[in-house]
C-alpha cells in the first residue's frame, strides 16, 4: 500500500513538474505543442511503426518476387501475374458477391430490428444485448458452431429440411450456385454465389447484425420524436413516415454503416477460414481475396505476391470508399 502511495506521489510530482516546464504557466500556445507531442509520442510511434510504415512496405514488397523472405526485384511482375490469374479474378468475384450480399442485408435487417426496438417499451436493453452477443464473440469459435449446424451428415439444418420434407443440402460443401439449387437446376450451376458462399454470408450477417443495430439505435434516438408525430398527425402511414421522415434523417448513419461495412467486408477472414478451410472442396467458390492472400503467404511462402494482392485490395477499398463518398452527396442529408 505504501508502495502505491509513494508511486502515486512521485507521479504527481512528475506531472506537476511537466505542467510547469512543458506547458508553461501561461497555459496554451507553444508550451501546448510540446506537451501535446509528449502525450502523442507513444501513439504516434506505435501507429507509425505498425500502421503507416507497413502500408509503404507492402507496396515495396509487392515489387519483389519474395519466397520466404528471399528473392529478387520483379518490377510489376507480381501484379501482372495476379491480373492474369484466374484464381485471383475468382477471389475478386467471391469478394464482390460477398459485399453485395452482406452489406445491404445487414443494414436492412438491422434497421428492422432497431426500428422495432424503438417502438417497444419494455425489454429494449435485454433485446439489444441478445442481438449484440454474436458480435462480441469470437468469429472463429462461433463459426465452428455454424459448421456443425450446417454439417450435411446429422447437422441441424438438414434435420429441419427432413422434418419439413424437403431434400437435404450440402450447405458449406456445395459449390453450385444458390439459384441453381433453389430452382432445382433451372439456372446454370456457376451463376451467382455458391450455396457455400451464401452460408458464409449468412454467418457474417448474423455475426455483424448487433453492431449495426446498436449504431442504428443511436442514430434513431437522435431523431426528434416530434417530426414523426407531426407526420402521423398529417395522416401519413407507418411506411410513409419511415420512407419520408425517418430514413432521410438517418442517412448519415446509413452512410457510416455502408462505409464501415464495405471496409470490414473486404477484410473478412475468420469466418471464411473457420467455415470452409479444412472442409470439403468448394471449387474456390469460397476463396475471397484475403483467403487467397493468406494462402499464398502462409502455404506457399510467396510474400511478394501476397503483398501485391494486399496492395490491390487496398486500392479497391480506397476506390470504393471514394465512389461511395461521391454518391453520398446525392443521398446523405446532413441537418
Amino acid at each position: 500500500m505504501s508502495l502505491w502511495v509513494g508511486f502515486s506521489d512521485g507521479l504527481d510530482r512528475v506531472l506537476a513538474w511537466a505542467d510547469g516546464h512543458l506547458v508553461g504557466r501561461s497555459g496554451r500556445p507553444e508550451g501546448g505543442r510540446r506537451a501535446a507531442l509528449c502525450l502523442l509520442a507513444p501513439t504516434l510511434l506505435l501507429l507509425g511503426v505498425f500502421g503507416v510504415a507497413p502500408i509503404v512496405s507492402t507496396v515495396l514488397l509487392s515489387l519483389f518476387d519474395l519466397r520466404y523472405g528471399n528473392g529478387a526485384f520483379a518490377g510489376l511482375g507480381n501484379y501482372q501475374e495476379a491480373l492474369q490469374s484466374s484464381a485471383f479474378w475468382n477471389s475478386v468475384r467471391v469478394t464482390a458477391w460477398y459485399l453485395v450480399g452482406v452489406v445491404p442485408t445487414t443494414i436492412g435487417l438491422g434497421f428492422v430490428v432497431a426500428w422495432g426496438l424503438m417502438h417497444v417499451t419494455r425489454g429494449r436493453t435485454l433485446f439489444r444485448t441478445l442481438y449484440f452477443l454474436p458480435y462480441i464473440t469470437s468469429a472463429y469459435a462461433a463459426a465452428l458452431v455454424w459448421r456443425a449446424l450446417l454439417n450435411p451428415q446429422g447437422g441441424l439444418a438438414n434435420g429441419l429440411l427432413e422434418w419439413i420434407g424437403l431434400p437435404t443440402q450440402q450447405w458449406l460443401l456445395e459449390p453450385r450456385g444458390l439459384l441453381h439449387v433453389v430452382t432445382g437446376g433451372a439456372v446454370a450451376a456457376d451463376m451467382g454465389p455458391s450455396l457455400a458462399l451464401c452460408c458464409v454470408m449468412a454467418f457474417d450477417i448474423w455475426h455483424g447484425l448487433g453492431f449495426t443495430v446498436v449504431i442504428l439505435l443511436a442514430g434513431l434516438s437522435a431523431i426528434p420524436q416530434e417530426l414523426e408525430d407531426a407526420a402521423r398527425i398529417d395522416g401519413a402511414g407507418v411506411l410513409q413516415v419511415i420512407r419520408h421522415v425517418t430514413l432521410p434523417l438517418l442517412t448519415p448513419t446509413l452512410y457510416f454503416l455502408l462505409l464501415i461495412g464495405t471496409i470490414s467486408g473486404f477484410q473478412a477472414f475468420n469466418s471464411f477460414y473457420a467455415l470452409t478451410q479444412s472442409g470439403g472442396n468448394t471449387l474456390g467458390t469460397t476463396e475471397n481475396l484475403v483467403i487467397y492472400l493468406f494462402a499464398n503467404f502462409y502455404d506457399n511462402g510467396r510474400w511478394g505476391y501476397g503483398a501485391a494482392i494486399a496492395t490491390l485490395l487496398l486500392v479497391a477499398i480506397i476506390a470504393l470508399a471514394l465512389v461511395q463518398a461521391r454518391f453520398a452527396r446525392r443521398w446523405v442529408h446532413y441537418s
Binding site: L15, V23, T43, G51, T121, P134, S138, G154, Y273
Partner: protein, 269 residues
Amino acid sequence: MKRALAYMVLTLGALLVIYPFIWMVGTAFKTLPESMGGSLSPLPQTWQWGNLSATLQAAPFGRYFFNSMVVGITVGLCVVLTSLLAGYAFARFSFRGRGVLFGLVLATMMVPFEITFIPNFVVITRLGWYNSYAALIVPWCANAFGIFLVRQAFLSLPEAYYDAAVLDGCGPLRFLRHIGASMVKPTLVTVFLFAFLGSYNALLWPLVVTSDPSMGVVQVGLASFVLDSGVRLNLLMCASAFVIVPSILLFLVTQRYFETGALGSGLKE
C-alpha cells in the same frame, strides 16, 4: 396490436440469433452419438459434465487461456493509456498540424490489418519477437478507434471543469490524472472492452507470429483442436463454449459503461 407484432418479430429474431449459443452449450454436454445424431433438441438427455474435463485434457486449454488473458489484458490496458493520452491531447491542446495528424490517425482505421500483416510479420521476426508475448501485444497497443472515442468524450465535457481546475493552479497533466481520467471512465471501459475483445478474438495475427504450442492463444488452440479432435463434436463444442463464454461474461459485466461510453458520446455525429 402493432406493439404485439413488434414484440413477436423481435422475440423470434432474438431466438434465432442466440439459438447457436444454446445449441453449442447443449451439445457440449451431450454424449458423442447424441451430438452427431441431428436431433432437433438442443439440450442433452443427460448432462455429461465429464466432457468438460475431457476437453481440458485433450488440449492444453488452460495454457491457451492464460496466454490469451495475459495478451488481452495487457493490450487493453495499453490501449486505454495511449488512447487517454492521445485523445486528451487532440481534444484539449491546440497546436499546428493537429487536424492533419488526427486525420492521419483516423486514416489508419481505414486500412485493414489484413493488408499490412506481411511487413509487420517481417518487422516482428527482425526484432526477434517471433513466438513471444511481445509479438502478440506491442503492435496492438494503440488504435485509432480508442483515440477517437476518448477525444469525443473530452470534447463533450464542459469547459468549465477544466477552466476551474486551471484557475486553482492545476496544470493540464495533473487535471488529466486527477479529474479528467475519472470523468471519461465509461469511455475508458468501452475502449478496454473493444481492445480486449479485438485481441482475444484475433486469429490471423497469432497464427502468423506464433508456432510454439506454449505460446498459443485460445483461438489458435481452438484451430488446432479442430484438426486434432476429429469428429468429437461434443468436445469441440465444449472447447468453443470455453472460448466464447468469457467474452460474453466480460461484456455483460461492462455493459452499463458501454452504453454511456459508446452510445452516449462517441458514435453520434
